[in-house]
């Protein structure tokens, strides 16, 4: 490799890598419930749906008062081209009791570092099979909200009463600490 090739590579490399650099953006959704859960009710440790499993697991970023779930395929399908669909798919969940009862979910989007949040949301940031099944953050989070309470006497109302973009991991930790 010639010197000029190396120099060119040195300048191009950061841009090439930046495009494939994935950042997680967290969005908070608040769902009203048609009936309030009894005090002491807890969200499950595992939720299964459409060949996927959400399982509660600790990890970073930490969000005080919220359960953290990671998404995984129940069984790896042979036709699955890549592990991309599950990359970074994390949901934080909390039930709020009382008269103003609600289900709080914080969903993560996997966006490319150079695209805006709007572009990312439009692109449908869940990739591969996951994208085909779940689509957008809003659609995916509604599915999680529905499934996390399936079989209960109370169901979430759609669309979400409120949704707020929290930002990246550091901002999520600060947001959780403020709550």
């Amino acid at each position: 490799m010639r010197l000029r090739h190396l120099i060119a590579l040195l300048f191009i490399l950061p841009f090439l890598l930046a495009d494939s650099c994935v950042k997680q953006v967290f969005i908070h959704f608040e769902y009203e419930l048609d009936r309030c859960p009894p005090r002491g009710f807890e969200l499950p440790e595992n939720v299964h749906f459409a060949g996927w499993e959400l399982h509660a697991v600790e990890g970073k970023p930490y969000c005080h008062g919220y359960l953290r779930y990671e998404l995984d395929e129940e069984e790896k399908a042979e036709s699955s081209l890549t592990d991309e669909p599950t990359r970074g798919a994390v949901v934080y969940a909390k039930l709020v009791f009382g008269e103003k009862c609600k289900l709080d979910l914080i969903s993560s989007l996997s966006c490319n570092s150079r695209e805006t949040l709007e572009e990312c949301q439009k692109r449908m940031p869940y990739q591969g099979a996951f994208r085909a099944k779940m689509g957008t953050a809003r659609g995916y989070t509604e599915l999680v909200a529905e499934r996390i309470l399936i079989g209960q006497k109370f169901t979430p109302k759609f669309p979400a009463r409120q949704n707020t973009t929290i930002g990246r991991a550091g901002e999520l930790e600060a947001w959780c600490a403020k709550q």
């Binding site: 190396l6 040195l10 930046a18 009894p38 002491g40 600790e58 970074g88 009382g98």
Partner: protein, 201 residues
């Protein structure tokens, strides 16, 4: 010169790749297998308000605590705290302390403390690990409820022991599984807590 440029290129690439990688950290499992757990439970003088949440951090009584993603087995519904106590000029950090606030009747608090050694053939009072765990549990509760009207009721302390940490992990998994009578997977059914005891003193 070429070597320097190649080295710089590799360094930038490595930095970018590592910087961009998604690091989904799994719950730590670094506690040695011989660790056991003591689980303390106590009813509260009154049920916490709907908006009440255990604090994420605090201090007092020459101690500090902070909730977070810490080592030790995962226990669904329990918050892990790191407790640091002051000994002279030094701060000692404990292994993670697990706390769960049960808001159904009777409202109660659960504290699980890891112990290096469980006692056999001894009464609880003779067991040094138990006494030490009980001291930590008391301190943790004092700190957690320091600025709230809720206090654990005297004389309601219950304790269970788990000889190894995986026994505690198993108890945690079974506790939540029992709440969801998963007979017709994936449809769960709630097992509502019984209205047994009032919390008003």
């Amino acid at each position: 010169m070429r070597k320097t440029i190649a080295l710089a290129t590799a360094l930038i690439a490595a930095l970018l790749v590592f910087g961009c990688q998604h690091k989904i950290l799994k719950g730590g499992q670094t506690l040695p297998a011989f660790y056991g757990f003591f689980l303390f439970s106590q009813t509260l003088n009154q049920c916490p308000a709907d908006s009440y949440q255990l604090p994420s951090h605090g201090s007092g009584f020459e101690a500090l605590f902070r909730a977070g993603y810490l080592d030790g087995p995962y226990c669904h519904g329990f918050t892990k705290y790191q407790l640091s106590t002051k000994h002279g000029f030094f701060w000692n950090e404990t292994s993670p302390i697990y706390v769960r606030l049960h808001t159904g009747a009777p409202c109660s608090i659960f504290v699980a403390i890891p112990a290096e050694r469980m006692c056999s053939g001894q009464s609880l009072e003779q067991c040094a690990s138990y006494r030490s765990a009980q001291g930590l549990a008391r301190l943790m509760l004092q700190l957690l409820f320091k600025e709230s009207p809720y206090v654990p009721r005297l004389g309601t302390l219950n304790v269970s022991g788990f000889p190894e940490h995986h026994d505690f992990e198993q108890w945690c998994a079974e506790r939540i599984r029992k709440k969801f009578n998963a007979t017709s997977h994936p449809v769960f059914k709630i097992d509502e807590p019984a209205q047994l005891e009032q919390n008003v003193d």
